[in-house]
Symmetry: C2
Subunit: 330 residues, 2 copies
C-alpha cells in the first residue's frame, strides 16, 4: 500500500489536526471534542445553526465545507463510518445561536441513527433541531423509492444553499425547507474505474477488474447498477448524463448547476475532458448551464472515478448559490 500513513488508527485525528492547523483562520476544533470542527465565525447569535457530518476519507467533504455562509460545525467519523451521536450532538451545541439548528446529512444507516439520537439529546438541552436527509444518488434505489437513495455530492449544493439561507436570517423552518428544496433538485451518479483501500485493511474492499467500470458506484464502493466494459470518456459522460437526466426529467430551458467531482485519484485534466462532453450534452437537451464546479469536491480516498451532480435551479436556489462563502472546500 503506497500511502502516507502512520498508525492507521491515528489517521482521522491527524487529518483533522492538520486540517485545523492549515485553515486556522476559518475553522477551529471544538474544545470538548476533537471530532468536531467548528467555523471560527460560529455560533452566531440569532442565526440558525447549520451542521453536517459523515465519515472521513471524503475530503474536502465534510470538514472542508465549514466556514462563513456555509456549515457552522461538522461531526467527523472514522474513515467511511458515521460520526457518533455525541459528535453530532456536540456539533449541534457548537453551532447553536439560539434560533435552532438544521442537520443536513446523507442517507446512511449509521448517520440516520446517530443524528436521531443527537436530536433527542439536543431537545433535552432545549435546542430545536430539524433535519434534511440527502438522497441524490439515483443509482442506489429506484425512482419510486427515493427515500432509500444514498446522499452523495449533491450534499455540497445542499450545504451551500442551506448555509446561505441561514446567513440571510431565515427561520429554522425556512432553512430546513430551502435545504430540502435544494437536495430535491439534485440528482447524482458515480462511475468507478479503480477501487480504494482503507489503510487499516491494507487491500481494496471491493474490486473493479482492469478493462471494466462500475456504473452507479457509491462513495464507499457500494455496487452500482452495472459493471460494463471501460469506454471512451465521451461515452461515459453520455451515460452519466443520461442516467441523471432520465431520472430528473427537466423541461427545456431549465437553468441548472453542475458539479463534476473526482473520487480521489482521477487526474484533474480528465475531469475537464468529462466535463466538456457533459456540458455539451446538457446544453443539447435544451438546459441552461448557469454554474459549474469541476474538481475534487467529494472524494473516496484514492478511488479512480467521478461523480456528476445536476441541480435544477429556481430563482432562490440560484441566488443562494451565488452568495459568497469562505471555506476550505471551495
Amino acid at each position: 500500500m503506497q500511502r502516507f500513513v502512520n498508525n492507521p488508527d491515528d489517521i482521522v485525528d491527524e487529518t483533522v489536526r492538520g486540517f485545523v492547523r492549515a485553515h486556522a483562520e476559518l475553522v477551529r476544533l471544538d474544545p470538548g471534542n476533537p471530532r468536531v470542527v467548528v467555523s471560527t465565525a460560529a455560533p452566531v447569535e440569532g442565526k440558525v445553526g447549520v451542521v453536517t457530518g459523515g465519515g472521513s476519507g471524503h475530503e474536502p467533504a465534510f470538514i472542508g465545507y465549514t466556514g462563513r455562509n456555509m456549515v457552522d460545525a461538522v461531526a467527523v467519523g472514522e474513515l467511511f463510518s458515521s460520526p457518533t451521536a455525541k459528535s453530532f450532538h456536540d456539533a449541534i451545541e457548537a453551532s447553536n445561536g439560539g434560533a435552532g439548528v438544521v442537520v443536513l446529512y446523507g442517507n446512511y444507516a449509521g448517520d440516520n441513527m446517530n443524528v436521531k439520537m443527537a436530536q433527542k439529546l439536543a431537545a433535552k438541552a432545549g435546542i430545536e433541531v430539524l433535519t434534511v436527509v440527502a438522497n441524490d444518488d439515483v443509482s442506489s434505489a429506484p425512482k419510486d423509492e427515493r427515500e432509500k437513495r444514498r446522499g452523495v455530492a449533491g450534499e455540497i449544493f445542499m450545504w451551500k444553499v442551506g448555509g446561505a439561507k441561514a446567513a440571510s436570517g431565515a427561520s429554522l423552518a425556512e432553512v430546513r425547507d430551502t435545504a430540502q428544496k435544494a437536495i430535491d433538485a439534485c440528482r447524482s451518479v458515480g462511475v468507478g474505474l479503480a477501487p480504494c483501500t482503507l489503510p487499516a485493511v491494507g487491500r481494496p474492499n471491493f474490486a473493479i477488474e482492469p478493462g471494466k467500470m462500475e456504473v452507479g458506484i457509491g462513495h464507499h464502493g457500494e455496487p452500482g447498477v452495472a459493471v460494463e466494459d471501460l469506454k471512451p470518456a465521451n461515452e461515459i459522460a453520455d451515460e452519466m448524463v443520461r442516467i441523471v437526466l432520465d431520472d430528473h426529467d427537466l423541461p427545456a430551458g431549465t437553468r441548472v448547476a453542475v458539479l463534476v467531482s473526482g473520487l480521489g485519484a482521477t487526474p484533474r485534466n480528465e475531469l475537464y475532458v468529462l466535463y466538456d462532453r457533459i456540458a455539451a450534452q446538457i446544453e443539447a437537451r435544451g438546459l441552461v448551464l448557469a454554474k459549474s464546479y469541476v474538481g475534487d469536491y467529494f472524494t473516496s480516498l484514492e478511488m479512480v472515478g467521478a461523480t456528476l451532480t445536476v441541480m435544477a435551479l429556481d430563482e432562490e436556489l440560484e441566488a443562494l448559490l451565488e452568495v459568497e462563502t469562505a471555506c476550505p472546500g471551495f
Copy 2:
C-alpha cells in the same frame, strides 16, 4: 489503464476546452490559438502582462492560475511537454497592455528554448519581455548549481507574487525583480510513492517498486536523490522538511509560507496528515508559519506523492501573497 480518455491525441484540446467552458467567467481561449488561455480581464492597458506556460497534466497548473491579479495568459503544451514558441508568443501578445510582459516559467530545456524564441518574436513586434526562471526543486541539482535546478510548485508563489505586483501598477523591471525575489525565496522537494502513465504510452514511464519511495522526484518522474524504503508519514514529512530547510538555511523567527501539494492520486486527507507533521517541524525550528496551502495545486497526472514548498517571506512578499485573487486554481 483505468482512465477517462478518448483519443489520447485529443486530451489536451479536450482538457482546455472543458476548462474554459467550466470557468468562462475567469478565462477564455485566445481567438487565434487554442493552446493559449487568457484571463477575461486581460489585457489591461498600462499594466505589465504576466505570462506562464508549461506542459499539460499538472492541472490546476498551469492554466488554473489564470485570472484577476494572477497570470494574464498561459501557453499550453502537450502532456508533460513544453508549449511551442508560437504559443508563448501568442500568450505574450494576449497579455500585452503596452507596459511590457514578464514570462514566469520553470527551468526545463524545452521551455527555456521556446520562451527565448518567443521573446525574440515579441521584440520584433515591439513588446519588451523579461523572464524569470523558477528553480526551486532542491533535489534536481546541488546548491552551488542552482541554475540547473528545475522549477516545481514554488512557481505558484512566483505567479501569485508576480501577478499581484503587476496589478499594483509596478513597472516591468519591478515586476520581474519581485517575481525573481519570490522564487529565490522558495525551496521545494517532492516524494513519489507510485508512478503515472501518459495515456498515449499506456504504461508508466518510470517505476517505483511497492514498499519503496523516490525522494526528490521531479514533476514528470525525473529520478530523485534516493530510492528508500517507504516510511511512516511522519518520517517522510521530517525528511522533506530536512531537505528543504538544510538547503534554505533560514534564521529563527523567519516568517514562511508553506505549500503542500498532492501529485494527483494522493488521498486528500493524507496531505493533511503530512502537513500536520510538517507544520510542527517547521515551528520546532523556530520559523513562523504565516500562511499555508494544502491541496492538489500542482499535480503530475495520477502520480501518488506530494511536494513541499517553503517560501521565506519579507514584508513585501507577505503583503503580495495576501492580495485577493480570482482564478480557478485557488
